[in-house]
Amino acid sequence: MSKDAEILDEFTSKEYEHGWTVDLEADEAPKGLNEDIIRFISAKKEEPEWLLEWRLKAFRQWQKMEEPKWAAVKYPKVNFQDIIYYSAPKKQKKLNSLDEVDPELRETFKKLGISLEEQKRLTGVAVDAVIDSVSVATTFKETLAELGIIFCSFSEAVQDHPNLVKKYLGSVVPQGDNFYAALNSAVFSDGSFCYIPKGVHCPMELSTYFRINAANTGQFERTLIVAEEGSYVSYLEGCTAPQRDENQLHAAVVEIYVHADAEVKYSTVQNWYPGDKDGKGGIYNFVTKRGICAGDHAKLSWTQVETGSAVTWKYPSCILKGDYSVGEFYSVAVTNNHQQADTGTKMIHLGKGSKSRIVSKGISAGFSQNSYRGLVQVHKRAEDVRNFSQCDSLLLGDKCGAHTFPYIEVDNSSAQVEHEATTSKIGEDQIFYCNQRGIDTEAAVALIVNGYAKEVLNKLPMEFAVEAQKLLALTLEGSVG
């Protein structure tokens, strides 16, 4: 504690030493983090007082916290005072045609089968008026509005729906939950807000693709989804196209609040820059994702395909508070070269008859390390809980690693908790068998890996699944033979 005090002291004295004030007209905050910076961010976003106080409370808690060290990942220490915590969203440089786009990137798009229109959108090429994504998004928004569904950027929600934000912000992931969540709570830049009213079945997949005004949400993204009683929504985050970002550290928070009889499906495809072949320059992805099934018969399902980032630290979790509520976690995590992933889930069973299902498929290649870390917790009063966990690891080559850390805490003897784990290798026999049928090695690996991950890929919305399949093949290109 005394050391913490020392560090704190150092921070504050430094601030004094320089004695700078933040220029509100500036597009960018100076490097570093202190209360003034948070005030600057909040003022820039014209936030209400309560939200500033909320951020400051998070910051004060964060200052007392230490970076978690328990994950099986190694990376150089992040200097949190060397980061710019606010910069105005930059307009992407407009290009006139796809010919101006990096050929390497175009090749990747081609392999992923991304449509020309989407390629243009992703690379910031001006799109002609008829199929302008803005107009698509507008019609899209109108349809949603008719149903009373709110889907907008987090900043907009703060302005337009302050009561909802105030009610649910931090209700699933409190400010002081963990080091990165606290940091996010203090400095989050923007993100998405989604509200489905009672009894409404959202007729389309809500994708960040259509959320145009929050294109550049930066490194501290905040997402809040609320599903009222008896509603349904399927939400898609990310895209298969490779994403590069100047910010090395990403610490997002996703909160999902599911009321009785409601269902939320949350699907992610994450393909951030993993660094070069030696692992240099990749993105650190420290995410807190959690949802609560607050009412009876509520259901929350997480599906993720993780192929990017140099370091991933991510455990989408379900608090199963409602009786007979259901939590699901389906994950494919691929690591290649020097990537490291420590990912998994937490299923906290509080309600009686609550059920959870975990299917985790890790794929390691190159020199990478891939860990599954999962907690299944059954509380004393939770009767007749059921959990099934399946954790498989697939190794390509002999220089990578796969690890499984299951934690099971059961306080009620009526619970049925099953855990299965397997580790396998893509065998030379399998590859040769494919070769003998005329299939080259790259296609053979893609086939075998997609077969292995099928159970999870099937959970993704159709179009996403097709792209994800290609993405898996692309990520592992050249990793065998």
Binding site: E428, Q430, F432, I439, E455
Partner: protein, 251 residues
């Protein structure tokens, strides 16, 4: 079609094939018989291009090209097919999906247009009859949980789909009961044409009652020591391999 000349091959430094010569012409069925450890499976593995085997001498010409220059997938695309003794399981990949990938890669190599889903299913339905294979089996993960008979039938079904010039059946009879054996043999016979050829590798004469060879070769200690017609197979069945071993030892 296939000209093997003085082929020598080893695995992990151990010489297994010690100079094999064999010529196979279109329309012919050759049986290669021999006791365990004589090099039968090594021969099929070397022809198919398995990496663990190193070719130390000799040459193999296939349809006028140097077969040994090709990667395994290119050998397959050129028209060489091997029915495996132990077909490999690939979890999560249906036989249908597997074959669609294979057929289209082979077609691409041969300059043929890709088959779309409808055309592919149509072709599959026709070929399924040849080995009396059930469609539900083809939807399941490749070879996973298949019985011995189902695996071998699936091999011949794949052969029917890929339409090879030369098929090598590596101990296809092992682990089959007589009914399954008949079905598999019927499939092979149906696929026979004046343009293609078959090499049947087997330990026992039994399979040759159903797939009748034009030539029988006896492989012993890495060499073909005796060649003849199907009568030679009967003789082997009756007398075993010892008399050939003895003959060969004296020679």
């Amino acid at each position: 079609m296939l000209k093997i000349k003085d082929l020598k091959a080893s695995v992990e430094g151990k010489e297994i094939l010690k100079g094999i010569s064999l010529e196979v012409n279109p329309g012919e069925v050759h049986a290669i018989m021999g006791p365990n450890g004589s090099g039968k499976s090594t021969l099929s593995s070397v022809l198919a291009g398995r990496e663990e085997y190193s070719v130390d001498g000799g040459s193999v010409e296939f349809l006028g090209k140097d077969l040994l220059e090709f990667a395994p997938e290119d050998r397959a695309r050129e028209g060489l097919f091997m029915a495996f003794q132990y077909p490999v399981e690939i979890p999560g990949v249906s036989t249908t999906n597997f074959l669609k990938t294979a057929v289209n890669q082979v077609r691409e190599h041969r300059g043929l247009p890709q088959l779309d889903a409808v055309q592919f299913l149509q072709t599959m339905k026709e070929k399924m009859k040849i080995v009396d294979i059930d469609q539900s089996l083809l939807k399941r993960s490749l070879n996973e949980g298949f019985s011995g008979g189902e695996k071998k039938r699936n091999e011949i079904f794949q052969m029917a789909m890929l339409e090879p010039k030369l098929a090598i059946l590596d101990e296809t009879d092992s682990g089959l009961d007589i009914d399954a054996l008949k079905i598999v043999a019927h499939g092979v016979n149906t696929l026979k044409s004046p343009d293609n050829a078959t090499i049947v590798i087997t330990h026992y004469q039994r399979l040759l009652d159903y797939i009748v060879p034009d030539f029988v070769h006896v492989l012993l200690n890495g060499k073909i020591v005796k060649s003849g017609t199907k009568e030679l197979a009967y003789e082997l069945e009756e007398r075993g391999y010892d008399w050939i071993k003895a003959e060969h030892a004296n020679a």
